[in-house]
C-alpha cells in the first residue's frame, strides 16, 4: 500500500508552484491533488488553524480530516493582518503559478489577497476562488457545506427508496471533494491557456456546479424532459437488470448492460423462459418492465447464496458484486494490487488516505505525508 518518495519533482505538474489559502475540504483537496500531480504546494494557515485539525476522529491527536486533505504539501501559519506576514506571503505570490482561496465573500479583499491586488503583482497568476454557490447574487454570500449543497442541488433527491422524499449521502465531504476535482480540471486548463497568452485569470469554482456535474446523467434527462421517477431504491433506470437482489444470505448487486449480456444472464440463472421472452430481449423493453423482471428473478436469486451467483455471473462476464465493508475492502487483493489506498508513515502513525486517482507511465506520481500544522518556518518554493 505504501507509496512514498522523497523526490518532490515528479509528476506532470512538477515545477509548478501553488499557494493554498484554504481550509476544510474542497480547497485543501484541490491543492493536494495539484501536489499529487507534482506541484510544489505551500499551505498558508491562519493563526486559528484549519478547523479540520479538531474535527473528530483524531489520530494521535490530529483530526484525520486534516491528514487526508493535506497530503503532498508544506505548511506555514501566518497572520495576514500583520504586515510582515503579509509581505512574506506576497513574496510567495510573486513566485506562484496558482493561488487557491475559499474565504467567505469579501474577506480575501479585506486581507489584501483579492485577485486584483495579486494580479497587479503577478499577471500570470491563476487565481482560483472556491465557494458554495458561486460569485453571482443572490447567494454569493450564503454559507455552504457538503450537506447544504446536497439538499439545494437536487443531489439528495435521487437517493433512497421509493417511499423517501429526500435522503442525504452520509459520506461527509463528498461534494467538497468533487468540487476539488472540478477545480483542478479548471486550473490545469487555465495553465494551458496561460502558456499561449502569458496571462493568468480568476476562476470561480462553486460547489453547486460540482454537485450538478455529479448529476450529469440526470441533468441531461431533465433538460430533455425525460427525467425518470426517483428515488427508485436500488434500481437504475438506464439499463436493466441493474439493482440489488436478495439471495439466500445477502443482496447481490447485478448490472446487465447489453442484450447479449441479458442472454448470458438468463443462461446463468437457468431461466429459459426469460431468455425466450421476446418482450424482454431489448434493453428498452427491460427498463420499461423493471418491476416484472424483479418479480421473476428475485425468487430465482433468492434460492441460492451470494457466492453461487458471484461465481455463475462472473463466469458469464456479467457485472456482479456484494456490498463490502469499506474497512475490510481496503485490504482486498484488488485494492492492494493497484495501490488504491495510500499508506503514509508520519508522526501521527501510519496514515491511510485514498490512493492516487491517476497513474502516469512517464511522469510518475507519488503520495507524501501531510505537514505538521502550525509551523512558523518561512518556507520558500523549490527551485
Amino acid at each position: 500500500l505504501s507509496e512514498t518518495k522523497s523526490d518532490q519533482r515528479c509528476g506532470p505538474l512538477a515545477g509548478l508552484k501553488v499557494l493554498d489559502l484554504t481550509i476544510m475540504a474542497a480547497g485543501p483537496w484541490a491543492a493536494s491533488l495539484l501536489g499529487q500531480l507534482g506541484a510544489d504546494v505551500i499551505k498558508v494557515e491562519p493563526p486559528a488553524g484549519d478547523g479540520t485539525r479538531w474535527v473528530h476522529p483524531y489520530q494521535h491527536g490530529l483530526g484525520t480530516n486534516y491528514l487526508a486533505m493535506n497530503v503532498n504539501k508544506r505548511s506555514v501559519t501566518l497572520d495576514l493582518r500583520r504586515e510582515d506576514d503579509r509581505d512574506y506571503m506576497l513574496s510567495l505570490v510573486d513566485e506562484a503559478d496558482v493561488f487557491i482561496q475559499n474565504f467567505s465573500g469579501g474577506v480575501a479583499d479585506r486581507l489584501g489577497v483579492g485577485y486584483e491586488t495579486l494580479a497587479r503583482r503577478n499577471a500570470g497568476l491563476v487565481y482560483c476562488s472556491i465557494s458554495g454557490f458561486g460569485s453571482p447574487p443572490p447567494l454569493d454570500k450564503a454559507k455552504a457545506a457538503d450537506y447544504i449543497i446536497q439538499a439545494f442541488s437536487g443531489f439528495a433527491w435521487g437517493n433512497g427508496t421509493p417511499a423517501d422524499e429526500f435522503e442525504q449521502f452520509r459520506f461527509t465531504g463528498f461534494i467538497d471533494l468533487a468540487t476539488a476535482m472540478v477545480a483542478v480540471q479548471s486550473v490545469v486548463a487555465a495553465l494551458l491557456e496561460r502558456r499561449n497568452t502569458g496571462l493568468g485569470m480568476h476562476l470561480d469554482v462553486p460547489m453547486l456546479e460540482a454537485a450538478l456535474e455529479l448529476q450529469f446523467v440526470r441533468v441531461s434527462q431533465a433538460a430533455a424532459g425525460v427525467l425518470s421517477e426517483v428515488p427508485a431504491g436500488s434500481d437504475g433506470d438506464l439499463v436493466y437488470p441493474d439493482g440489488a437482489y436478495q439471495t439466500l444470505d445477502r443482496p447481490v448487486f447485478i448490472t446487465v448492460r447489453t442484450d447479449d449480456e441479458w442472454r448470458r444472464f438468463c443462461e446463468a440463472i437457468e431461466s429459459p423462459e426469460l431468455l425466450h421472452d421476446d418482450s424482454l430481449s431489448r434493453n428498452e423493453q427491460r427498463v420499461n418492465n423493471r418491476a416484472e423482471i424483479r418479480r421473476v428473478i428475485e425468487p430465482i436469486l433468492g434460492s441460492r447464496p451470494s457466492m453461487w451467483w458471484l461465481r455463475c455471473l462472473r463466469r458469464q462476464q456479467i457485472c456482479v458484486a456484494v456490498s463490502q465493508n469499506s474497512d475490510a475492502f481496503n485490504r482486498h487483493e484488488q485494492v492492494i494490487a493497484n495501490s488504491m489506498i495510500g499508506r503514509l508513515e508520519s508522526e501521527w502513525g501510519s496514515v491511510e488516505v485514498g490512493g492516487l486517482p491517476w497513474r502516469f507511465s512517464d511522469t510518475e506520481v507519488f503520495l507524501h505525508a501531510p505537514p505538521r500544522p502550525g509551523s512558523s518556518e518561512r518556507v520558500r518554493f523549490h527551485g
Partner: protein, 390 residues
C-alpha cells in the same frame, strides 16, 4: 466576464475508443475545451449507452448518450479493420486516446507495438485508459458497473438503512472517473508542452476514483483515537432527511455556535422563532454542532427543532438561519434546482429543451477577472510556443 477556456485545446485531436459514461465524459469535456473528438465505432462493438434509458424518439440514441457525444465526429471501422490498420492509424495519429480497453484487449486488437511504445514514452500519444477495477489484480479483467463498483467500495453503507435497499441516485463513480481522466489528460498535455515530454500511458479506474473520493472516510477509519463524528460513524446512522417545516424539509448548521454558551447567532435564531425554551435544554449545549447538519446527535433533538419549525415555511427558515449567521437550504428536486435563479446566473445548464444534447458547460470555468493587458506577461511566458502541436 464570460466563460472561456473554450479554445485551450484548439487543434488537438482526441480519439475515443470507448463506451459508457466515464471515457465519453472526458472526451466531451476535452471537446468543450476546444479539441476535435473522433469516436471510433467497430463493427463487433456496441456502446451500451446508446440504448440506455430514455430516448426522445424510438429511432435515436438515448438522451444521455446524446448529451455525452453530441458534437463528436464518428468514424466506423470496416469489417476488415484488423487487416488494413485503420484502427492503428486512427489511434497513432491522435494527440490523446481515451479507451476503456484493457492492455490485453488493446494487444488482442493487434496494437501491442503501439501500446508498448506509448507506455515507454516513445510514441507521442497520450493514452488514457479507463477501466472499472484498475489494470492489475484479480478483478482487472472483470466487468464492473457503477452499481457494482459502488457496492464493492463500501459506498452502499452510507445510503439507506440496509445495504441493498437503495443506491446513490447519481453515477458518481463514472462521472468522477471522467473528471479524473480529463484532469490527467490536461496535466499530460501540460507536461508535454512544459518539459518537451513525450506521450504516456495513464490509468484511471472507477474503483480507484471512488476510493480516492472516499479519502476522508479512509483516513478516519485507519487508526482513530476515538469513535466520534460522522466521518467514522456515518455508516451506522439512520437515513438523514433534514428537518420538516410547514411545506417541506431543510438542512442547516450554525458552525460551532449551537447552545446557549455558543456565539449569539443560534441563540438569537431560536428566540426569533419562539423557541427560547431550547436555551434551557442542556442537550443543545452539550451536543452543540452535532445536533445539526449530518451531526451524530440529530435524532436526539430532531423533535424539538421540528416542533419549532412547524409554523414556518422552508424559505422563511432558510432566510432566518442565514440572517443569523448559519447555513441552510431547502431540499429541492433536481428540476427545482435547475430552475433556481442561482443556477440560471451561473449559466451552467443551457436551454436545450427537446434536443437532449449539449446541456451543460464545463463546471468551474467562469472567469471572473483577467489581468490588464498593460501589466504584460510574466517573464518567460510570452510565447506562442507551448501547447501547439504537430
Amino acid at each position: 466576464m464570460g466563460d472561456l477556456l473554450a479554445s485551450v485545446l484548439t487543434g488537438m485531436r482526441i480519439v475515443e475508443w470507448c463506451s459508457g459514461i466515464a471515457g465519453p465524459l472526458a472526451g466531451r469535456r476535452l471537446r468543450d475545451f476546444g479539441a476535435t473528438v473522433t469516436r471510433l465505432e467497430l463493427p463487433d462493438e456496441q456502446d451500451w449507452l446508446q440504448a440506455a434509458g430514455a430516448c426522445l424518439s424510438p429511432s435515436v440514441d438515448s438522451v444521455v448518450f446524446e448529451a455525452l457525444n453530441a458534437g463528436k465526429q464518428c468514424v466506423s471501422m470496416g469489417t476488415d479493420w484488423r487487416n488494413n490498420k485503420d484502427l492503428e492509424n486512427e489511434l497513432s495519429s491522435a494527440d490523446i486516446v481515451i479507451t476503456d480497453k484493457t492492455r490485453e484487449q488493446v494487444d488482442a486488437a493487434g496494437l501491442r507495438l503501439l501500446r508498448s511504445d506509448v507506455e515507454a514514452g516513445v510514441s507521442p500519444v497520450i493514452w488514457v485508459s479507463v477501466t472499472p477495477h484498475g489494470p492489475r489484480g484479480p478483478w482487472a479483467r472483470m466487468p464492473g458497473s457503477e452499481l457494482t463498483v459502488e457496492a464493492s467500495t463500501g459506498y452502499m453503507g452510507y445510503i439507506g438503512i440496509e445495504p441493498g435497499a437503495s443506491r446513490l441516485g447519481n453515477y458518481v463513480g463514472e462521472i468522477g472517473t471522467g473528471i479524473f481522466a480529463t484532469q490527467a489528460a490536461l496535466a499530460a498535455i501540460y507536461a508535454k508542452a512544459e518539459r518537451s515530454a513525450g506521450g504516456q500511458w495513464i490509468d484511471v479506474s472507477v474503483m480507484q476514483s471512488l476510493l480516492s473520493m472516499a479519502s476522508i472516510q479512509v483516513a478516519a477509519h485507519a487508526d482513530p483515537d476515538d469513535f466520534l463524528g460522522p466521518r467514522i460513524r456515518g455508516e451506522f446512522y439512520p437515513p438523514q432527511r433534514g428537518w420538516r417545516c410547514s411545506d417541506g424539509q431543510i438542512t442547516f448548521a450554525f458552525g460551532g455556535a449551537v447552545g446557549k454558551s455558543g456565539r449569539p447567532g443560534w441563540v438569537n435564531f431560536v428566540q426569533e422563532i419562539g423557541a427560547g425554551w431550547m436555551l434551557e435544554d442542556e442537550r443543545f449545549d452539550e451536543f452543540g454542532l452535532d445536533t445539526t447538519g449530518l451531526g451524530i446527535r440529530v435524532e436526539e433533538t430532531r423533535e424539538a427543532y421540528e416542533d419549532a419549525f412547524s409554523s414556518y415555511t422552508c424559505d422563511e427558515l432558510v432566510r432566518l438561519i442565514r440572517e443569523y449567521g448559519g447555513s441552510a437550504a431547502r431540499f429541492q428536486t433536481l428540476p427545482e434546482a435547475l430552475n433556481h435563479p442561482q443556477v440560471h446566473k451561473l449559466g451552467l445548464v443551457h436551454d436545450a429543451a427537446n434536443t437532449g444534447a449539449s446541456v451543460t458547460r464545463i463546471p468551474g470555468i467562469r472567469v471572473l477577472g483577467r489581468p490588464p493587458q498593460s501589466d504584460c506577461a510574466r517573464e518567460g511566458m510570452t510565447g506562442k510556443e507551448g501547447i501547439e502541436h504537430d
